[in-house]
Protein backbone atom coordinates (compact mmCIF):
# COMPACT_ATOMS: atom_id res chain seq x y z
CA UNK A 1 0.00 0.00 0.00
CA UNK A 2 1.21 3.48 -0.68
CA UNK A 3 1.07 6.23 1.90
CA UNK A 4 -2.17 7.63 0.54
CA UNK A 5 -4.00 4.34 0.92
CA UNK A 6 -2.72 3.88 4.44
CA UNK A 7 -3.66 7.36 5.54
CA UNK A 8 -6.84 7.54 3.50
CA UNK A 9 -9.04 6.22 6.29
CA UNK A 10 -10.29 9.56 7.57
CA UNK A 11 -13.51 10.66 9.24
CA UNK A 12 -15.35 13.92 8.75
CA UNK A 13 -17.52 15.93 11.11
CA UNK A 14 -19.26 19.13 10.05
CA UNK A 15 -16.99 19.41 7.00
CA UNK A 16 -13.74 18.99 8.96
CA UNK A 17 -11.70 15.89 8.13
CA UNK A 18 -9.46 14.11 10.61
CA UNK A 19 -6.96 11.25 10.28
CA UNK A 20 -6.76 10.47 13.99
CA UNK A 21 -9.76 8.67 15.44
CA UNK A 22 -8.69 9.45 18.97
CA UNK A 23 -10.09 12.65 20.48
CA UNK A 24 -8.61 13.59 23.83
CA UNK A 25 -9.66 15.74 26.73
CA UNK A 26 -7.29 18.23 28.32
CA UNK A 27 -8.54 17.99 31.92
CA UNK A 28 -7.22 16.31 35.08
CA UNK A 29 -3.51 16.39 34.16
CA UNK A 30 -1.04 17.21 36.94
CA UNK A 31 0.34 20.14 34.93
CA UNK A 32 0.27 21.77 31.51
CA UNK A 33 3.62 20.40 30.23
CA UNK A 34 2.34 16.85 30.87
CA UNK A 35 -0.92 17.75 29.13
CA UNK A 36 0.98 18.93 26.07
CA UNK A 37 3.31 15.89 25.99
CA UNK A 38 0.49 13.35 26.36
CA UNK A 39 -1.67 15.00 23.72
CA UNK A 40 1.22 15.04 21.29
CA UNK A 41 1.89 11.34 21.98
CA UNK A 42 -1.80 10.51 21.43
CA UNK A 43 -1.66 11.78 17.86
CA UNK A 44 -5.04 13.45 18.43
CA UNK A 45 -6.05 16.31 16.17
CA UNK A 46 -9.12 17.37 18.15
CA UNK A 47 -9.09 18.20 21.87
CA UNK A 48 -11.90 19.06 24.24
CA UNK A 49 -11.55 22.12 26.46
CA UNK A 50 -13.65 23.67 29.22
CA UNK A 51 -14.76 27.28 29.62
CA UNK A 52 -14.24 28.83 33.06
CA UNK A 53 -13.94 32.20 34.78
CA UNK A 54 -10.50 33.78 34.53
CA UNK A 55 -8.82 33.65 37.94
CA UNK A 56 -8.50 37.36 38.72
CA UNK A 57 -6.27 36.79 41.74
CA UNK A 58 -3.65 34.84 39.79
CA UNK A 59 -3.62 36.39 36.34
CA UNK A 60 -0.15 35.19 35.45
CA UNK A 61 -1.06 31.53 35.81
CA UNK A 62 -0.03 29.63 32.66
CA UNK A 63 -2.82 29.17 30.13
CA UNK A 64 -3.83 26.05 28.25
CA UNK A 65 -3.51 27.82 24.91
CA UNK A 66 0.19 28.44 25.57
CA UNK A 67 0.77 24.67 25.75
CA UNK A 68 -1.92 23.21 23.48
CA UNK A 69 -2.13 25.58 20.55
CA UNK A 70 -5.54 26.17 18.98
CA UNK A 71 -3.64 26.73 15.73
CA UNK A 72 -2.38 23.16 15.87
CA UNK A 73 -5.35 21.33 17.43
CA UNK A 74 -9.07 21.70 16.75
CA UNK A 75 -10.50 22.98 20.04
CA UNK A 76 -13.83 21.44 20.93
CA UNK A 77 -15.30 23.54 23.76
CA UNK A 78 -17.49 21.55 26.11
CA UNK A 79 -20.22 22.33 28.61
CA UNK A 80 -18.82 20.16 31.40
CA UNK A 81 -20.27 21.17 34.74
CA UNK A 82 -23.53 22.38 33.21
CA UNK A 83 -26.63 20.88 34.76
CA UNK A 84 -29.25 22.88 32.84
CA UNK A 85 -29.85 23.71 29.19
CA UNK A 86 -29.54 27.46 29.91
CA UNK A 87 -26.10 27.08 31.49
CA UNK A 88 -24.94 25.00 28.55
CA UNK A 89 -26.12 27.52 25.98
CA UNK A 90 -24.55 30.49 27.88
CA UNK A 91 -21.27 28.63 28.22
CA UNK A 92 -21.01 27.80 24.53
CA UNK A 93 -21.93 31.31 23.44
CA UNK A 94 -18.95 32.49 25.49
CA UNK A 95 -16.79 29.75 23.99
CA UNK A 96 -17.74 30.84 20.49
CA UNK A 97 -16.77 34.40 21.28
CA UNK A 98 -13.48 33.33 22.92
CA UNK A 99 -12.40 31.04 20.12
CA UNK A 100 -14.51 31.90 17.14
CA UNK A 101 -15.55 28.27 16.67
CA UNK A 102 -19.04 26.95 15.99
CA UNK A 103 -18.13 23.30 16.54
CA UNK A 104 -18.88 22.42 20.17
CA UNK A 105 -19.47 19.49 22.49
CA UNK A 106 -22.76 19.68 24.34
CA UNK A 107 -23.13 17.78 27.57
CA UNK A 108 -25.84 18.35 30.14
CA UNK A 109 -25.38 16.06 33.09
CA UNK A 110 -27.57 14.58 35.75
CA UNK A 111 -26.52 14.48 39.40
CA UNK A 112 -23.60 12.56 40.96
CA UNK A 113 -22.62 9.82 41.44
CA UNK A 114 -23.28 8.83 37.81
CA UNK A 115 -23.27 12.22 36.03
CA UNK A 116 -25.42 10.38 33.50
CA UNK A 117 -26.54 12.52 30.54
CA UNK A 118 -29.80 14.39 31.26
CA UNK A 119 -31.45 13.72 27.92
CA UNK A 120 -34.48 15.97 28.39
CA UNK A 121 -32.21 18.95 29.09
CA UNK A 122 -29.74 17.85 26.39
CA UNK A 123 -32.50 17.88 23.75
CA UNK A 124 -33.60 21.38 24.82
CA UNK A 125 -30.04 22.72 24.76
CA UNK A 126 -29.28 21.08 21.40
CA UNK A 127 -32.33 22.71 19.86
CA UNK A 128 -31.37 26.16 21.16
CA UNK A 129 -27.75 25.79 20.05
CA UNK A 130 -28.58 24.56 16.55
CA UNK A 131 -31.02 27.47 16.15
CA UNK A 132 -28.18 29.77 17.20
CA UNK A 133 -25.88 28.45 14.45
CA UNK A 134 -23.74 26.02 16.45
CA UNK A 135 -22.51 22.69 15.09
CA UNK A 136 -23.30 20.40 17.96
CA UNK A 137 -21.47 17.20 18.84
CA UNK A 138 -23.58 15.77 21.61
CA UNK A 139 -22.77 13.62 24.62
CA UNK A 140 -25.71 11.32 25.22
CA UNK A 141 -26.99 8.17 26.85
CA UNK A 142 -26.57 4.80 25.13
CA UNK A 143 -30.16 5.10 23.94
CA UNK A 144 -30.74 4.51 20.20
CA UNK A 145 -34.06 6.39 20.23
CA UNK A 146 -32.61 9.52 21.86
CA UNK A 147 -29.54 9.31 19.61
CA UNK A 148 -31.71 9.22 16.49
CA UNK A 149 -33.75 12.17 17.72
CA UNK A 150 -30.58 14.21 18.27
CA UNK A 151 -29.38 13.35 14.77
CA UNK A 152 -32.74 14.27 13.25
CA UNK A 153 -32.59 17.64 15.04
CA UNK A 154 -29.33 18.37 13.27
CA UNK A 155 -26.57 17.39 15.69
CA UNK A 156 -23.36 16.80 13.69
CA UNK A 157 -22.06 13.91 15.81
CA UNK A 158 -23.54 11.56 18.39
CA UNK A 159 -21.40 10.73 21.40
CA UNK A 160 -22.92 8.02 23.59
CA UNK A 161 -21.18 7.15 26.82
CA UNK A 162 -19.37 3.83 27.09
CA UNK A 163 -19.68 4.05 30.90
CA UNK A 164 -19.92 6.91 33.43
CA UNK A 165 -17.35 9.70 33.02
CA UNK A 166 -14.02 8.79 34.57
CA UNK A 167 -15.24 5.33 35.64
CA UNK A 168 -12.78 3.39 33.49
CA UNK A 169 -15.31 0.58 33.08
CA UNK A 170 -15.17 0.37 29.27
CA UNK A 171 -18.17 -0.09 26.99
CA UNK A 172 -20.94 -1.42 29.24
CA UNK A 173 -23.69 -1.65 26.64
CA UNK A 174 -22.12 -2.80 23.36
CA UNK A 175 -25.43 -3.90 21.86
CA UNK A 176 -26.95 -0.42 22.10
CA UNK A 177 -23.74 1.34 21.04
CA UNK A 178 -23.70 -0.89 17.95
CA UNK A 179 -27.35 -0.12 17.27
CA UNK A 180 -26.66 3.63 17.49
CA UNK A 181 -23.75 3.23 15.06
CA UNK A 182 -25.79 1.21 12.57
CA UNK A 183 -28.64 3.72 12.56
CA UNK A 184 -26.60 6.92 12.40
CA UNK A 185 -25.66 8.85 9.27
CA UNK A 186 -23.47 11.24 11.26
CA UNK A 187 -20.26 10.21 13.07
CA UNK A 188 -20.65 8.29 16.33
CA UNK A 189 -17.96 8.67 18.99
CA UNK A 190 -17.81 6.61 22.16
CA UNK A 191 -17.28 9.23 24.83
CA UNK A 192 -16.56 8.51 28.47
CA UNK A 193 -15.81 5.33 30.35
CA UNK A 194 -12.68 4.15 28.55
CA UNK A 195 -10.23 2.77 31.12
CA UNK A 196 -7.42 1.32 29.09
CA UNK A 197 -6.32 0.69 25.50
CA UNK A 198 -8.40 -2.46 25.22
CA UNK A 199 -11.59 -0.49 25.86
CA UNK A 200 -10.71 1.94 23.07
CA UNK A 201 -9.95 -0.93 20.68
CA UNK A 202 -13.24 -2.63 21.61
CA UNK A 203 -15.20 0.57 20.95
CA UNK A 204 -13.55 0.94 17.55
CA UNK A 205 -14.26 -2.72 16.71
CA UNK A 206 -17.94 -1.99 17.26
CA UNK A 207 -17.61 0.37 14.30
CA UNK A 208 -17.67 3.81 15.87
CA UNK A 209 -15.92 6.65 14.04
CA UNK A 210 -13.75 7.79 16.92
CA UNK A 211 -13.23 7.50 20.66
CA UNK A 212 -12.91 10.31 23.19
CA UNK A 213 -10.57 9.71 26.13
CA UNK A 214 -9.51 11.95 28.99
CA UNK A 215 -9.23 10.43 32.49
CA UNK A 216 -7.71 7.15 31.33
CA UNK A 217 -4.73 9.04 29.90
CA UNK A 218 -4.49 11.97 32.31
CA UNK A 219 -4.68 9.87 35.47
CA UNK A 220 -2.51 6.93 34.31
CA UNK A 221 0.79 6.56 36.18
CA UNK A 222 2.54 7.48 32.92
CA UNK A 223 0.14 9.63 30.87
CA UNK A 224 2.46 9.90 27.86
CA UNK A 225 2.85 6.12 27.62
CA UNK A 226 -0.91 5.61 28.05
CA UNK A 227 -1.52 8.16 25.30
CA UNK A 228 0.62 6.02 22.99
CA UNK A 229 -1.29 2.92 24.11
CA UNK A 230 -4.64 4.59 23.34
CA UNK A 231 -3.40 5.66 19.91
CA UNK A 232 -2.34 2.06 19.17
CA UNK A 233 -5.59 0.68 20.63
CA UNK A 234 -7.75 2.93 18.49
CA UNK A 235 -5.76 2.06 15.38
CA UNK A 236 -5.88 -1.69 16.14
CA UNK A 237 -9.62 -1.58 16.74
CA UNK A 238 -10.20 0.36 13.54
CA UNK A 239 -8.05 -2.03 11.47
CA UNK A 240 -9.89 -5.00 12.96
CA UNK A 241 -13.28 -3.46 12.20
CA UNK A 242 -12.29 -2.78 8.61
CA UNK A 243 -10.67 -6.21 8.21
CA UNK A 244 -13.87 -7.99 9.25
CA UNK A 245 -13.59 -10.43 12.12
CA UNK A 246 -14.35 -14.15 11.85
CA UNK A 247 -17.69 -15.32 13.20
CA UNK A 248 -17.84 -16.73 16.72
CA UNK A 249 -18.37 -20.50 16.71
CA UNK A 250 -18.94 -23.03 19.43
CA UNK A 251 -16.54 -25.61 18.00
CA UNK A 252 -12.94 -25.96 16.83
CA UNK A 253 -11.71 -25.63 13.25
CA UNK A 254 -8.15 -26.90 12.89
CA UNK A 255 -5.64 -24.33 11.70
CA UNK A 256 -3.32 -26.91 10.07
CA UNK A 257 -4.37 -29.17 7.18
CA UNK A 258 -5.80 -32.50 8.25
CA UNK A 259 -4.46 -34.19 5.07
CA UNK A 260 -0.93 -35.51 4.36
CA UNK A 261 -0.39 -36.61 7.92
CA UNK A 262 2.32 -39.22 8.49
CA UNK A 263 1.08 -42.69 9.33
Amino acid sequence: MDGMTQTGDTWTVAGRTFSSRLVVGTGKYKDLPTTAAAIEASGAEMVTVAVRRVNLSDRNAPMLQDYVSPQHYTYLPNTAGCFTADEAVRTLRLAREAGGWNLVKLEVLGPPPLLYPDMAATLLAAEALIKDGFEVMVYCSDDPVAAKRLEDMGCVAIMPLGAPIGSGLGVQNPLMIQSIIENAKVPVLVDAGVGTAWDAAFAMELGCDAVLVNSAIALADDPVLMARAMKAGVEAGRFAFRAGRIPRKGFASASSPMTGLIR
Binding site: G25, V51, R52, L56, L64, R93, R96, A98, I165, A192
Partner: protein
Protein backbone atom coordinates in the same frame (compact mmCIF):
# COMPACT_ATOMS: atom_id res chain seq x y z
CA UNK B 1 -10.63 71.77 44.39
CA UNK B 2 -12.11 68.31 44.49
CA UNK B 3 -12.99 66.46 41.35
CA UNK B 4 -13.59 63.14 43.06
CA UNK B 5 -16.01 61.24 40.96
CA UNK B 6 -17.95 58.40 42.36
CA UNK B 7 -16.47 55.04 41.38
CA UNK B 8 -18.64 52.57 39.52
CA UNK B 9 -19.42 49.42 41.45
CA UNK B 10 -19.28 46.31 39.26
CA UNK B 11 -19.37 42.59 39.81
CA UNK B 12 -16.63 40.78 37.90
CA UNK B 13 -16.63 36.98 38.00
CA UNK B 14 -18.76 37.15 41.12
CA UNK B 15 -16.39 39.56 42.93
CA UNK B 16 -17.15 43.21 43.71
CA UNK B 17 -14.89 45.68 41.89
CA UNK B 18 -14.80 49.47 41.51
CA UNK B 19 -13.61 51.38 38.45
CA UNK B 20 -13.51 55.08 37.57
CA UNK B 21 -16.49 56.40 35.62
CA UNK B 22 -15.99 56.30 31.90
CA UNK B 23 -14.04 53.05 32.03
CA UNK B 24 -14.64 50.98 28.93
CA UNK B 25 -14.60 47.20 28.81
CA UNK B 26 -11.26 47.44 26.97
CA UNK B 27 -10.00 49.63 29.82
CA UNK B 28 -11.10 47.12 32.45
CA UNK B 29 -9.44 44.23 30.61
CA UNK B 30 -6.23 46.26 30.40
CA UNK B 31 -6.43 47.05 34.15
CA UNK B 32 -6.82 43.34 34.83
CA UNK B 33 -3.78 42.66 32.60
CA UNK B 34 -5.69 40.11 30.53
CA UNK B 35 -5.03 39.24 26.88
CA UNK B 36 -8.18 40.15 24.98
CA UNK B 37 -7.41 37.48 22.39
CA UNK B 38 -7.74 34.73 25.02
CA UNK B 39 -10.91 35.74 26.86
CA UNK B 40 -14.61 36.20 26.23
CA UNK B 41 -16.91 38.52 28.12
CA UNK B 42 -20.56 38.36 29.05
CA UNK B 43 -22.11 41.59 30.37
CA UNK B 44 -25.46 41.29 32.13
CA UNK B 45 -25.98 37.91 30.45
CA UNK B 46 -25.24 39.27 26.93
CA UNK B 47 -22.11 38.32 24.98
CA UNK B 48 -19.95 41.34 24.19
CA UNK B 49 -18.29 40.98 20.77
CA UNK B 50 -14.53 41.41 21.10
CA UNK B 51 -14.44 44.08 18.41
CA UNK B 52 -16.64 46.35 20.54
CA UNK B 53 -14.70 46.28 23.86
CA UNK B 54 -13.36 49.78 23.29
CA UNK B 55 -16.83 51.19 22.71
CA UNK B 56 -18.57 49.58 25.67
CA UNK B 57 -18.74 52.04 28.59
CA UNK B 58 -19.32 50.23 31.87
CA UNK B 59 -22.25 51.22 34.07
CA UNK B 60 -22.77 50.94 37.81
CA UNK B 61 -24.22 47.57 38.70
CA UNK B 62 -22.88 45.77 35.61
CA UNK B 63 -22.31 42.07 36.15
CA UNK B 64 -19.45 40.77 34.03
CA UNK B 65 -18.25 37.25 33.39
CA UNK B 66 -14.76 37.00 31.93
CA UNK B 67 -13.88 33.47 30.85
CA UNK B 68 -11.15 31.55 29.08
CA UNK B 69 -10.35 28.00 28.05
CA UNK B 70 -8.93 25.56 30.56
CA UNK B 71 -8.30 21.83 30.51
CA UNK B 72 -11.47 19.76 30.34
CA UNK B 73 -12.81 16.46 29.06
Amino acid sequence: MSNTLELLALTVNGEPMQVPPGTTLAGLIARLELDTRKVAVERNLEIVPRSTYGAVALSAGDALEIVHFIGGG
